[in-house]
């Protein structure tokens, strides 16, 4: 996926983890220097730094030094000042803005220029050419609108030489229907989305790859055999992708014949890849962040500067480190179990992600 993961063949996992950590430290310094440089930097961070009694460019010397920042507040992305997030160096570039789900009030807006393409090109390197054939077309059956997902999946498809067919699903509308107990309308809407997808699958025989959400995958497979429709690989994202669902998807929905690639991501961080399938993991869904461009750490909810031990449950803490967007120490609304580095990703992962249980009021999740 990146240099740390890909260029150290033959080294032990510990050696590769050390190299990855060094790369992360170096990358962190570069990104901080970029965002806090008056020439290239981001107006929000330059303003932020002007109120500090320390200079991030001097004092951030490694990744762990990011603890000197306060926790990133999502309100900063809801203040209607989206231009303050555009680094000066990119002031004349075409700017996208993408939004988070919007299930918790005003959506958070994040600017993008090329990040979504870079993230998905790196993700592409993790896909098998056999199960996600180059030149094969894709069906993107999921949320588009203000999210980056549609453009990102479409770019992934194009990057692999395919053409992407798209059907929209608006999760904000689904959340409204669920909250008002209009379940019949919710299912009608789901059927409407699935019917459009099936129409495309029937019409375009070169569609061999699918992006969709767990709920829509279930609904599709209730109607047809995706094996019979020529699908070879499914890339699945969304909330609450459990180990049991993972097993159910591989064994039953996809009949043991279609590759299943779960991912965890959001507009703020990017895309975390699933550890390659290993029966020894008993279908546990383990994600690794796209280090050094972003990190996921599992921290003590009561003391979120502290990373929990391996195998322990904690809250997900995200850090994004790209030239387009700097987001240190953001406490996500998810929790999971800290896992060890693996061959493909020599840095920590997070397993069994689910909504953070520490919130007083449950958030409507799982609509994807």
């Amino acid at each position: 996926m990146n240099s740390a993961a890909g260029t150290s063949a033959g080294a032990s996992i510990d050696e590769r983890a050390t190299a990855a950590k060094a790369a992360l430290d170096k990358h962190t310094c570069e990104i901080v220097a970029w965002h806090f440089d008056p020439a290239t930097g981001t107006p929000f961070w330059l303003d932020y730094a002007s109120k500090l009694d320390w200079d991030p460019r001097k004092e951030i010397k490694c990744y762990n030094d990011l603890d000197k920042f306060d926790f990133f507040e999502d309100e900063w992305l809801r203040q209607g000042k989206v231009r303050s997030w555009v680094p000066k160096a990119y002031a004349n570039d075409p700017i996208y803005t993408f939004e988070t789900g919007g299930s918790t009030g005003v959506p958070k807006s994040r600017i993008n220029i090329k990040d979504f393409r870079i993230d998905y090109e790196q993700f592409s390197d993790t896909l098998s050419d056999e199960m996600f054939p180059r030149g094969g077309d894709w069906l993107m059956l999921g949320p588009s609108g203000p999210r980056r997902l549609r453009l990102a999946v479409e770019h992934l498809c194009q990057h692999r030489g395919g053409i992407c067919f798209c059907v929209d699903m608006d999760p904000r509308w689904v959340v409204k229907l669920i909250k008002s107990s209009r379940l019949r309308e919710m299912h009608e809407y789901k059927d409407h989305v699935v019917n459009q997808g099936l129409t495309l699958l029937r019409a375009h025989k070169n569609i061999q790859c699918l992006f969709t959400t767990p709920k829509l995958l279930e609904a599709l497979c209730e109607r047809v055999s995706l094996v019979d429709y020529g699908i070879k690989g499914v890339f699945c994202g969304g909330t609450q992708l459990t180990a049991q669902f993972h097993r159910f998807a591989r064994e039953e929905l996809l009949e043991g014949k279609i590759d299943f690639v779960p991912t965890y991501g959001n507009t703020l961080m990017g895309l975390a890849c699933h550890k390659p399938f290993d029966p020894a993991d008993n279908y546990s869904v383990i994600y690794h962040p796209p280090s050094p461009r972003a990190m996921i750490e599992v921290v003590d909810p009561e003391s979120p500067r502290k990373v929990v031990g391996y195998g322990e449950l904690g809250r997900a803490r995200l850090t994004t480190l790209t030239k387009e967007f700097f987001m240190p120490r953001f406490l996500e609304r998810d929790e999971g179990i800290r896992t060890k580095p693996c061959d493909a990703y020599p840095w920590d992962g997070i397993a069994d992600v689910r909504p953070f249980s520490g919130f007083a009021t449950p958030i409507v999740e799982g609509v994807y």
Binding site: L183, H187, P214, C221, E222, T242, Q244, F245, Y283
Partner: protein, 473 residues
């Protein structure tokens, strides 16, 4: 640790996700219940052979149900990969629910009784229909052609944990030829699992039975997918399905004992029937009375019934004298107690049982919490405690002119009305508030097997069709 798997088409399936049940008294992990993901529930239901029971005659199925009742009470039956004796079942049921052993046995007997008397139960549900009509699709009854078809191709049930006796309600579905898909209550997987195994041992095809412990989402998929279903739960659970004719709702019962104007002065004669209506089965059923309505003497009635109920004390579940259930989750008892205490701060209500109990309502034995009986005298029927139902022996007592009672009582699953006044009976008989009516000093919980209880499963599963038959020449 005991493993309770999913049964998919009657076959054991072990999930990656499990829920651990603890022993109510020790808090120690006791059983692991395998959880179905919601997609599995729906996928299996749409693939279920809905004609799996059609090859049997109704008479055969009645005989098999009788056998299942016997096996339920006596035989070692599979529980996942192990075997469960009847005594194991009773002990396990008590461990995770906190119900006294004696009540567990009583409820098991009730279930067996329904299975063994299935012919009477069906006679009640079908009003004496010749059951061959279910085999042939039609019959000529005294010159009148009758035809029914089964609209409930797959029957689902979202079940509770409060009282095992409720499982007698879905059992006739199997004999009415509808394959079943059950979602057990969280703390009470034992009874539906054992019933399925008893059915299988008695000859019912395993593929006609599914057992899917699952979460809220899975329950929703079950209810969405089933042609016909039963849903047990509190008001908030059943409310979204109130206008869904496919689903028979079993929410709070708000059952009542009502005195007529003509007997109100003789109230002392009826203290026993009022008390037993409230306290039987630990006061955990929807057919337990949660209110007493009388034209007068309300305060005195509350005091006398409270004195009677105060005899129940918190005792360990395995004590042969135990009559109150422990709360498997002690926090629930705390919450209920807080709700009542808060409501008692409003003017016009008093827990008259308190003086007779001599102890607080909430009692603890080790980690177990108990709620001891409460009888609340409400000066007004508008008081917030006047029409409440809780999971322990609780009742309010309110006064109301007899002429206003039928309109004022609100939805009432069982009304026991004690009166000789035919016009008063008539006012209740004609009122949609009352689901089941007992006239006389009959405890609210007493069931007559030849009468439908809380809906009619036959009417839910079958529809009558117009039919004419003229053999070809």
């Amino acid at each position: 640790m005991i493993e309770i798997p999913i049964l998919r088409f009657g076959k054991v399936y072990e999930s990656i996700e499990t829920v651990t049940l603890v022993h109510h008294a020790t808090g120690e992990p006791f059983a692991r219940v395998h959880q179905a993901n919601s997609g599995m529930v729906r996928r299996d239901m749409v693939r279920m052979a809905d004609d799996a029971l059609e090859k049997f005659s109704t008479a055969d199925l009645i005989a098999m149900a009788r056998k299942a009742g016997e096996l339920f009470m006596t035989a070692p039956l599979p529980l996942g990969k192990s075997q469960q004796s009847f005594e194991d079942y009773i002990a396990q049921l008590s461990c995770t629910t906190g119900m006294p052993i004696t009540y567990c046995r009583d409820n098991a007997g009730k279930i067996a009784s329904v299975l063994e008397k299935m012919d009477q139960v069906l006679a009640g549900l079908t009003r004496g229909l010749d059951l061959k009509v279910l085999d042939d699709g039609y019959s000529d009854a005294s010159g009148h052609m009758l035809s029914f078809y089964r609209a409930g191709r797959v029957f689902g049930a979202v079940l509770p944990s409060n009282s095992p006796g409720v499982h007698s309600l879905w059992a006739p579905a199997m004999v009415l030829k509808a394959p079943i898909v059950l979602k057990p209550g969280r703390e009470e997987p034992w009874t539906p699992y054992r019933m399925i195994e008893a059915f299988a041992a008695a000859g019912f095809p395993r593929e006609a039975m599914g057992f899917y412990p699952t979460d809220h989402g899975g329950a929703g998929e079950l209810l969405r997918t089933a042609d016909r279903a039963m849903l047990f739960g509190g008001g908030a659970t059943v409310r979204p399905y109130e206008n869904d004719p496919r689903i028979e709702l079993h929410g709070p019962g708000y059952s009542k004992v009502i005195l007529g104007d003509d007997v109100a002065d003789d109230w002392a004669k009826y203290v026993e029937v009022m008390a037993t209506s409230i306290d039987r089965n630990g006061g955990r059923s929807c057919i337990n009375a949660s209110a007493i309505w009388t034209p007068r003497h309300g305060r005195a009635i509350a005091d006398a019934v409270g004195k009677e109920l105060a005899k129940h004390k918190a005792l360990p579940a395995d004590d042969p004298n135990a009559t109150l259930a422990a709360f498997a989750n002690p926090a629930v008892a705390d919450q209920i107690n807080n709700v009542i205490e808060h409501a008692l701060t409003e003017d016009g209500a008093e827990d008259v049982c308190a003086a007779h109990r001599g102890t607080p309502r909430l009692a603890h034995i080790g980690r177990c919490a108990y709620l001891q009986p409460s009888v609340v005298w409400c000066e007004s029927r508008e008081h917030s405690l006047a029409n409440r139902e809780f999971l322990f022996p609780y009742a309010s007592v309110v006064e109301c002119p007899a002429a206003e009672i039928a309109d004022a009582i609100g939805p009432t699953l069982v009304a026991t009305v004690i009166t000789r006044d035919e016009s008063f009976v008539h006012s209740l008989m004609n009122h949609p508030n009352v689901d089941r009516l007992n006239v006389g000093a009959i405890p609210t919980w007493r069931i007559s097997w030849d009468q439908p209880h809380e809906g009619n499963l036959f009417e839910l599963l079958y529809r009558q069709r117009s039919f004419q038959f003229e053999p070809a020449a």
